[in-house]
């Protein structure tokens, strides 16, 4: 069989340059907002195995994860300047193209028999690859295997990248999604936990960059025009023509990056619209994956979940309310001064104290993994009552679509990083009704929720990234729309920054 370089393979090669380069740059943007890598899901400060920031943390003041970010230059990351939401948009758009491309490519490899170009059919290939490596180190060019277009080392390395590294990066990327990770929680644990998965995803990035560097060097060693001509024309009979076309293609890709970066920095909302068109059709499907994480396998037998595995220092983003009234509330143990209002578009509104919430919850708890949009994780055992149970009590009226939650955290007042007022969030009814969407009033059997984690009462949305699990909850309002609330995007960061309300990924 003459493997050659069929047209679809050449198209895929070109598209992959675009997708992977966008993935790497937007991935660096995401990494930059929490530039630390951990082995443990508890992400205990000071225990990261790698970090890419020189920022010092305050010694005797509590610091949030929101203050641990680093702003990378737009020349490196996409779009740069710490715009995580927009980096995520680009990452997910590129993911959509990259995964689609890889699946089609994989099918075509199988159907056409081209899989032979990447899969060794003889053990001899491995020993030959060793000899090829020695040849390269001696600055000589090894010859292709008989009947193949590559030498043995190329065959193994390309096969590794396409058939191992790529599925691995897709898998570890998918399990960054809180909806997927908390639905398939056993797989999350089997893969080593969220931080091991995140670190592996990062190492995949390193793998791609290393492969790219070696790949480019080898292209030059084998002859730039000769090799690139194969990727453009399918042969090397007209190396100059092929090489020029390939070089123009590379210049176009660089231009694409420059344009995308500047466009994103100038008009983030336009990028958001593009994201919604490309990503929403599949990310909305994740609403079908309710969280079912219990951080203890024994829980499937109905046994109570212990707190042994929970995080001692449950990390947080966002500052607690900086008001004397809040200090008074905390100093009096919250319980006798706090009430939760639940009303809006319902049959029977109500006002509940913490004692009443506790009674309604009847001892219910869930031990779950928190997925911060920046990247940290903590495991917490939350006592509370499900929003679904509360909705059953208040009875939403016909046409109710969303549940809005408001906090007594005032962003402009409490957090130097932000402007605005009361923090709020909203969930579509499908998310509000999920079995692990919880109104929590106690963390880790400590009697209450600490101020830094949203005490006295907070929301837990185990299918979403962390910022949507609103802290310092005061009101729950059932509504029949959310487009008339503030800027109409469904939450504080959705309105003021570039975050999708669908935070299932």
């Amino acid at each position: 069989m003459d493997l050659g370089f069929p047209w679809w393979l050449r198209v895929e090669h070109f598209l992959n340059i675009i997708f992977i380069s966008f993935l790497v740059r937007s991935g660096l943007e995401i990494l930059g907002t929490y530039p630390k890598l951990y082995r443990s899901q508890h992400t205990v400060p000071g225990t990261s195995w790698a970090q890419f920031t020189v920022q010092d943390e305050p010694k005797h003041k509590y610091y949030t994860v929101g203050g641990e970010d680093s702003n990378y230059s737009p020349r490196i990351s996409l779009p740069g300047r710490g715009l995580l939401g927009l980096g995520r948009y680009w990452h997910f758009m590129a993911v959509t193209g990259f995964v689609t491309c890889w699946i089609i490519y994989f099918v075509l490899l199988l159907v056409t028999g081209q899989w032979r170009r990447y899969v060794p059919t003889s053990w001899d290939v491995f020993s030959q690859a060793g000899q090829d490596m020695l040849a390269y180190l001696a600055f000589t060019m090894p010859h292709p295997v008989d009947g193949m277009v590559f030498n043995a080392l190329q065959q193994l390395s390309y096969g590794f990248v396409i058939l191992i590294l790529t599925p691995l990066v897709i898998l570890t990327g998918a399990f960054q999604s809180p909806a997927i990770a908390n639905h398939f929680s056993r797989i999350t644990r089997a893969l080593g936990g969220r931080q091991v998965i995140r670190s592996t995803h990062f190492l995949c990035l390193v793998g791609y960059v290393a492969f790219f560097a070696v790949h480019v060097i080898l292209v030059f060693m084998h002859g730039y025009l000769h090799e690139t001509s194969k990727m453009v024309l399918g042969h090397s009979n007209s190396p100059v023509v092929g090489g020029v076309i390939f070089s123009i293609g590379l210049a176009l890709i660089v231009t694409l990056h420059v344009v995308a970066t500047r466009w994103t920095l100038a008009d983030g909302r336009a990028v958001e619209k593009l994201h919604n068109v490309i990503v929403r059709p599949w990310s909305n499907l994740l609403y079908k994956l309710p969280a079912r994480m219990h951080y203890d396998r024994s829980n499937i037998t109905g046994k109570d979940v212990g707190i042994d595995n929970t995080t001692h220092n449950f990390r947080g983003s966002g500052r607690p309310p900086e008001t004397p009234e809040y200090l008074a509330l905390m100093a009096n143990c919250y319980e006798d001064d706090y009430v939760l209002e639940i009303g809006g578009y319902v049959e029977r509104p109500m006002t509940l104290t913490i004692a009443q919430l506790r009674e309604l919850a009847a001892g219910h708890s869930q031990t779950t993994l928190h997925h911060c949009v920046q990247g940290f994780t903590s495991i917490g055992r939350w006592r509370g009552i499900t929003v679904s149970d509360l909705l059953d009590l208040v009875k939403p009226l016909p046409g109710a679509t969303d549940v809005v939650y408001t906090s007594f955290q005032n962003m402009g007042r409490d957090d130097v990083l932000y402007e605005g007022g009361t923090y709020y969030e909203s969930t579509p009814m499908v998310e509000a009704r999920m079995p692990q969407t919880l109104i929590a009033f106690e963390l880790n059997d400590e009697g209450e929720i600490p101020a830094k984690n949203g005490g006295p009462v907070r929301l837990r949305l185990e299918t979403s990234t962390g910022f949507r699990s609103l802290k310092w909850l005061e009101r729950i309002e059932v509504t029949n729309r959310y487009d008339i609330i503030l800027k109409g995007r469904g939450g504080f960061f959705e309105d003021t920054d570039f975050y999708d309300r669908n935070q299932l990924i």
Partner: protein, 324 residues
């Protein structure tokens, strides 16, 4: 299941011994909840001597709630170290909860800020600025709508199922018409629970919107945000609720008149709503009733609500005639 509302205020501790037992029974963190971080101090369990230090300090700085005296406090023994979690608090700062014992003010809870050294009895200890005697219950942004100074008198799943002459019914806003009927006809359906509270929130939200408009700050984010949020939330939930019950003939005349009064106020404020980029009740009501009708006939799908709708409030306000 809670069937009747509860008023916990009546069962709260009234003596230092009762309060001590109450606080002592509450679970505490037993692990290092700041693992990997380095707070200077931790929460303290105050001894009798330390409680006396707090009481003496209250007298020394004449710390009291309006209408009460400095000696009229019980001290919460679980002193909270605030110097770590709160940016604006001094590194030595603690917050000690205080419960008023003045007759009729037992529901009022506040705190005093003291330093670690003071609590340790060090006469040379740093003295931190004395805080205002704020009430813990004032953290609730709905406090101004409640029927008692420290929160609602009725709580629970039936909190709003109070009798028509209950505290909530007597708290309708001043803007309601004066000529409301004194008696309720026999044909009036069962009162809709919390309808009057809905109207309070709607009118209060409208008041705040009008105040924002009067300041001339327009959509300046820090001052616009809360009025816009409360208006939007009320209009997306409380208002459709009342319109729905109105369409079902379930509002009594008093509430109906109050609802129409609110709508008249909102119609009068149309210019302010437009300039602040906020929705108007009339189209919201029409859309809500249509949506409810579709839902009742089984032709409404919630699924589309997981997509992002076009914001109705994001467009910039139209410039007034003659302005640049």
């Amino acid at each position: 299941m809670l069937r009747k509302s509860m008023t916990l205020k009546k069962t709260r501790p009234r003596t230092q011994a009762e309060l001590d037992a109450y606080i002592a029974a509450r679970p505490r963190p037993v692990r290092n909840t700041f693992e990997g971080m380095y707070p200077l101090h931790e929460d303290l369990e105050l001894s009798d001597e330390q409680v006396q230090i707090v009481q003496d300090y209250l007298q020394a700085v004449n710390f009291h709630l309006p209408g009460a005296a400095a000696h009229e406090f019980l001290v919460v023994r679980w002193a909270r170290y605030t110097g770590f979690q709160f940016l604006q608090e001094h590194l030595e700062a603690y917050a000690i909860g205080l419960r008023c014992t003045h007759p009729g003010m037992e529901d009022q809870h506040t705190f005093i800020r003291m330093s670690w050294g003071q609590l340790m009895g060090d006469p040379e200890a740093i003295r931190l600025p004395v805080n205002e005697p704020v009430l813990a219950s004032d953290m609730m942004t709905l406090a101004r709508y409640r029927d008692t100074r420290t929160g609602p008198s009725q709580t629970g799943v039936d909190a709003y199922a109070a009798a028509p002459d209950g505290p909530v019914a007597n708290s309708l806003p001043n803007s309601l018409p004066n000529s409301l009927p004194d008696s309720v006809p026999n044909s009036v359906p069962e009162p809709v629970p919390g309808a009057d509270f809905d109207l309070q929130l709607l009118n209060g939200a409208l008041d705040d919107v009008l105040k924002q408009h009067l300041t001339g700050k327009g959509r300046e984010i820090n001052s616009w945000w809360n009025p816009a949020l409360n208006w939007g939330v009320a209009l997306a939930g409380r208002y459709p609720r009342l319109k729905y019950f109105e369409s079902q003939g379930r509002l009594d005349e008093k509430i109906l008149a109050a609802l129409h009064s609110f709508e008249a106020r909102a119609a009068h404020a149309e210019t302010a709503l437009q300039e602040l980029g906020l929705a108007s009740p009339a189209p919201v009501a029409a859309a809500a009733l249509k949506q409810a009708e579709q839902a009742e006939s089984g032709t409404f799908s919630r699924r589309h609500r997981i997509r992002t709708p076009q914001s109705l409030t994001e467009s910039k306000p139209e410039k007034p005639n003659g302005s640049e």
